[in-house]
């Protein structure tokens, strides 16, 4: 009797436990743990509609990146107005968007960046949005920003800028009544101090090269100054929008010294945020200022972290651990687009981002590629589609032209890509062999990242098909490659990139000038110098396009290197994150960012 009672009790208990386990299961969902944050909006799970132009995979469409490229652009910045002198003035309604009345307590976003900055001093950070510019812009702000809608530079901390006729003098007027948190006013002496630091501190930032073009800072008064350049420069505002245009507080720098300033620049900038925590190798945390000159800063905290590798960055984005992500790997960008993430984001193009770098005889070296016929043979044998298939699984943006089809300067006739022509390449190689007795050997330097190993295999196969005997050296790291190319100039061919962005094509292509300090391949062609001179004085997009077309025309006569792809730098952010603005050099600005709780 007792035994039966126990058996019955046990069975009832078992039944009860199973029922309890199943019954309580639906309340909290399967994956949502108790600590999981509540979704920002009810329909977060719904995939956003994909963008219908540049974010799509269809290369046939001729996308205008400005059309719908980010959520921020919904808050369209007002069109700039020309001032009386023909310069560019800040919009009449100069205040930025007021997306909130005050900073929203507790609001926070985290951004997965591409690589870490070496410090928070603009002269130390190596530059562009890939390395530090986004973080630094939150702290310092910039004099000028690149308006991604109208594709031109517009004043930001500045009120206006204009040039003289020959583009050697640029007049800058600052907005009045802007001050650093400690009360130090933004005046022309601050601008001079900021820019001269790039020369004085030795600086690692490449901005020091073009700050050196400023012969004289002529201070007219507290708000007006003239930059006297040693050469004409049509897109000088670029220098005001780069790290060189990030205003630093001289009082703070002098009080704490350069080293501390690099690590903890509290109150040292005019940006919407102040530094909260800088832990190298871990994170940069900035918190909103309550007295930002441009109005209320909506998001209280922005955190910048680096997650190694685009796949892991995108996984963290999908898991909502980061709300903004920087992706630069074609496979992951493609996946993000397939997931519909392109609707909220922005694409920066690095035209000619993938290049077979060819030694034209740099610093007295005499590689076989000093012969223009071999350079042409290389350009004709490197098939972009094959390279893309091997290195990017066919998901990149192949193209043997100076510009991508997505570039604002693109014109099919002006920038027609070079068509692979193996027959001609073979004939040229054979011609050189017959004429000089050269045995066809050529060295190809790259590095040991997995995608670059695939790249080297494809390049080797294509070049050998044209009659070259390729000796590949890709055992080392990317630092070894930099040493081979920049320091030792001991290469024939190398994997490299020119990164010609639409916002500032002049700076990257300047390296092709015969007397340029950063001419890394020893290329020299008077026709190219003349074309670069035209680009240097180009002031609007039509003039820039015409100058670039001439450069591309000269390129196909003297073949400095072989272009095979455009690199995309793809920023995505969650649908509830609004107001992020793209500027130049793959940088984003957060001063108008807010979280849409609707």
């Amino acid at each position: 009797m007792r035994s039966w009672f126990l058996k019955l009790l046990a069975l009832m208990l078992a039944f009860g436990l199973v029922a309890a386990a199943c019954g309580n299961d639906d309340d909290e969902g399967v994956t949502a743990g108790p600590d999981e944050p509540a979704p920002a909006q009810a329909d977060d799970d719904a995939a956003p509609a994909p963008a219908d132009d540049d974010d799509g995979a269809d290369d046939d469409a001729a996308p205008a990146p400005a059309d719908d490229d980010d959520g921020a652009d919904d808050d369209a910045a007002p069109a700039p107005a020309d001032d009386d002198d023909g310069g560019i003035a800040a919009p009449a309604d100069s205040e930025m968007m007021d997306n909130c009345d005050a900073t929203v307590p507790g609001s926070e976003i985290t951004m997965g960046i591409f690589s870490e900055t070496a410090g928070l001093d603009p002269t130390v950070s190596s530059g562009s949005g890939t390395t530090g510019m986004i973080e630094l812009a939150t702290l310092y702000d910039v004099l000028v920003i690149y308006d991604q809608i109208n594709k031109e530079y517009v004043p930001h901390l500045a009120e206006s800028f204009s040039s003289n006729d020959d583009l050697t003098e640029w007049t800058l007027t600052l907005r009045p009544d802007i001050a650093f948190p400690d009360g130090t006013p933004l005046d022309t002496s601050v601008v001079q101090f900021t820019m001269e630091r790039f020369l004085r501190e030795g600086g690692r930032n490449q901005g020091r090269a073009y700050v050196a073009w400023i012969e004289e800072f002529e201070i007219i008064d507290d708000l007006n100054m003239v930059f006297h350049l040693d050469r004409p420069w049509g897109t000088f505002p670029y220098a005001l929008s780069d790290e060189t245009g990030m205003m630093v507080n001289p009082t703070v720098v002098e009080a704490i010294g350069n080293e501390e300033f690099n690590l903890n620049p509290v109150n040292a900038g005019l940006g919407p945020y102040n530094i909260e925590r800088y832990a190298p190798g871990e994170e940069i945390v900035v918190t909103a200022k309550d007295d930002y000159w441009g109005g209320p800063v909506c998001i209280e905290t922005v955190r910048f972290i680096r997650i190694p590798g685009a796949p892991a960055t995108y996984e963290a984005y999908k898991n909502d651990e980061i709300q903004v992500a920087f992706l630069r790997e074609p496979r992951v960008i493609s996946e993000a687009r397939e997931d519909g993430e392109g609707a909220n984001g922005h694409v920066f193009l690095q035209n000619a981002g993938g290049v077979v770098f060819v030694n034209n005889g740099v610093r007295g070296s005499t590689p076989p590629t000093t012969d223009v016929r071999l350079r042409e043979a290389i350009a004709l044998s490197v098939d972009p589609a094959v390279m893309d298939q091997r290195a990017n699984e066919g998901l990149g943006k192949p193209g043997a032209s100076l510009l991508s089809t997505d570039s604002i300067y693109w014109d099919e006739e002006l920038f027609a890509p070079i068509q692979p022509n193996l027959e001609r390449a073979r004939a040229l190689v054979q011609e050189v062999k017959d004429e000089t007795g050269w045995d066809g050997t050529i060295r190809l330097a790259c590095h040991n990242a997995p995608s670059r190993i695939d790249w080297a295999i494809a390049a080797e196969a294509l070049l050998e098909a044209a009659g070259f005997e390729v000796e590949v050296d890709n055992d080392g790291t990317i630092l070894d490659l930099i040493g081979i190319v920049l320091v030792n100039a001991d290469f024939d061919l190398a994997c490299w990139g020119f990164n010609v962005s639409d916002e500032t094509p002049f700076i990257p292509v300047l390296q092709f000038r015969s007397d340029a300090g950063n001419n890394r391949i020893g290329y020299a062609d008077p026709n190219m110098d003349a074309a670069l001179d035209k680009l240097q004085v180009a002031t609007n997009n039509d003039e820039i396009q015409a100058a670039l077309a001439e450069i591309w025309s000269v390129w196909q006569q003297s073949w400095p290197s072989a272009i095979y792809e455009t690199i995309e730098e793809f920023f995505i952010w969650k649908p509830h994150v609004k107001g992020i603005v793209g500027s130049q050099a793959s940088s984003l600005l957060f001063h108008d960012a807010y979280l849409d709780q609707g």
Binding site: K7, A14, T31, P34, P280, G281, A312, D480, G517
Partner: protein
């Protein structure tokens, strides 16, 4: 005892000098140049000489080593070359606690799981449990840590319902098995049946509780112990990395303990305990475990020391700001020798002190060693 500790500390000094000297020489041989890391791909040909001169990096390795050693004796670990103004000591203070926590949690998990499993496998040698646990151990050993980490991310972050339901099903199945055995075991006493039924209730209750409170784990990142976000967040962020670290160690510890304990269980004093009717758990825990744990403790010490500097893969997968990442990514890869020197010095000190402590612990584990002195 104090004399022993003192002698070990004295021996530490030459060891550390030799290690630091060897590190200094080896860093010269591996690729990586901090100046190249500074100038990057956008640099100009003349930048190298300029920065080399600015940073005073044109000294030879010997004078550079003695400069560093002199600074160390003054308590200065120097500055990171590639990050101006960043003190190496600050980076070490920032990263060491992270690695210590992950390693400690990993070791604790490994020991908590390996000791009972290894002991029971030894006690039930040759049975189905032994064969299954041995097979599982070999399987786990064969999974490299990077793969284990990615699998854990796949399962616990992106498909969290799978382990959750697995725990639920297994726990309830275990509970049912306990109940069933309580019901069917005709030879057992009523007290035994009630105990099994109670165990079934406890197991089922814990399972249901765990399934309902199943935490979500982050894909990456680390919340510090001292963070405002709290200890729970700290454990949540450290859990998957610690499990990744623990997995391999569990298998190794289990196999090692099983072998040693199997030999111990053949000893006369164990037979005597059995003859006296001592329950198996008491025999294993109180009599057999201590003499069987010499190899385990030695290996655990070595493994712990290894983990302190060797968790770079786990740190990379989960983006942990630990010592491994610091030394490899910020030091070796860029040739930033003050980082490498400082990091290796801390690791070597820790390693030597840890092994000294293990040596000392032997005398507590085995009275014969204590008396032999």
């Amino acid at each position: 005892m104090l004399r022993t500790i003192g002698l070990k500390l004295v021996r530490l000094v030459p060891v550390l000098i030799i290690v630091s000297l060897a590190t200094s020489l080896l860093i010269e041989l591996v690729p990586g140049d901090p100046i190249l890391a500074i100038i990057g791909m956008e640099g100009e040909p003349g930048d190298y000489e300029r920065i080399e001169k600015e940073l005073g990096l044109d000294e030879n390795v010997v004078s550079r080593y003695f400069d560093w050693l002199g600074s160390i004796f003054q308590g200065d670990f120097g500055e990171q070359i590639t990050r101006p103004g960043v003190k190496v000591a600050d980076r070490l203070k920032q990263t060491f606690p992270v690695t210590i926590q992950i390693s400690l949690m990993g070791m604790a998990m490994a020991l908590l799981i390996a000791v009972p499993l290894g002991s029971w496998a030894a006690y039930r040698a040759g049975t189905r449990f032994d064969r299954v646990s041995s097979g599982a151990a070999f399987g786990i050993i064969s999974i490299p840590s990077f793969l284990a980490g990615l699998l854990l991310v796949f399962m616990f972050v992106f498909h969290a319902s799978v382990p959750r339901y697995a725990v639920l099903i297994l726990g309830l199945a275990w509970s049912l098995w306990l109940l069933w055995s309580a019901v069917l075991n005709r030879h057992d006493q009523a007290r035994g049946m009630l105990l099994r039924a109670a165990a079934a209730i406890v197991v089922a209750g814990l399972t249901v509780w765990l399934a309902n409170k199943w935490p979500s784990f982050p894909r990456q990142g680390f919340v510090r112990w001292t963070s405002d976000e709290g200890r729970l967040e700290n454990f949540r962020s450290a859990f998957l990395p610690a499990v990744t670290v623990a997995l391999t160690e569990i298998a190794v510890f289990m196999r090692l303990l099983r072998g040693d304990m199997q030999a111990t269980l053949q000893e006369d004093f164990i037979l005597s305990a059995r003859a006296k009717g001592m329950p198996p758990v008491r025999i294993l825990a109180r009599d057999a475990l201590r003499p069987s744990s010499f190899s385990l403790i030695t290996l655990a010490g070595v493994a712990f020391g290894r983990l302190i500097g060797g968790t770079v893969i786990v740190e990379s997968i989960f983006r942990l700001p630990g010592m491994g990442s610091l030394i490899v990514n910020d030091g070796v890869n860029t040739g930033d020798f003050p980082v490498v020197q400082g990091g290796v010095l801390i690791l070597a000190t820790f390693y030597v002190v840890l092994n000294g402590a293990i040596d000392i612990s032997y005398s507590y584990l085995d009275p014969r060693l204590r008396r032999g002195r």
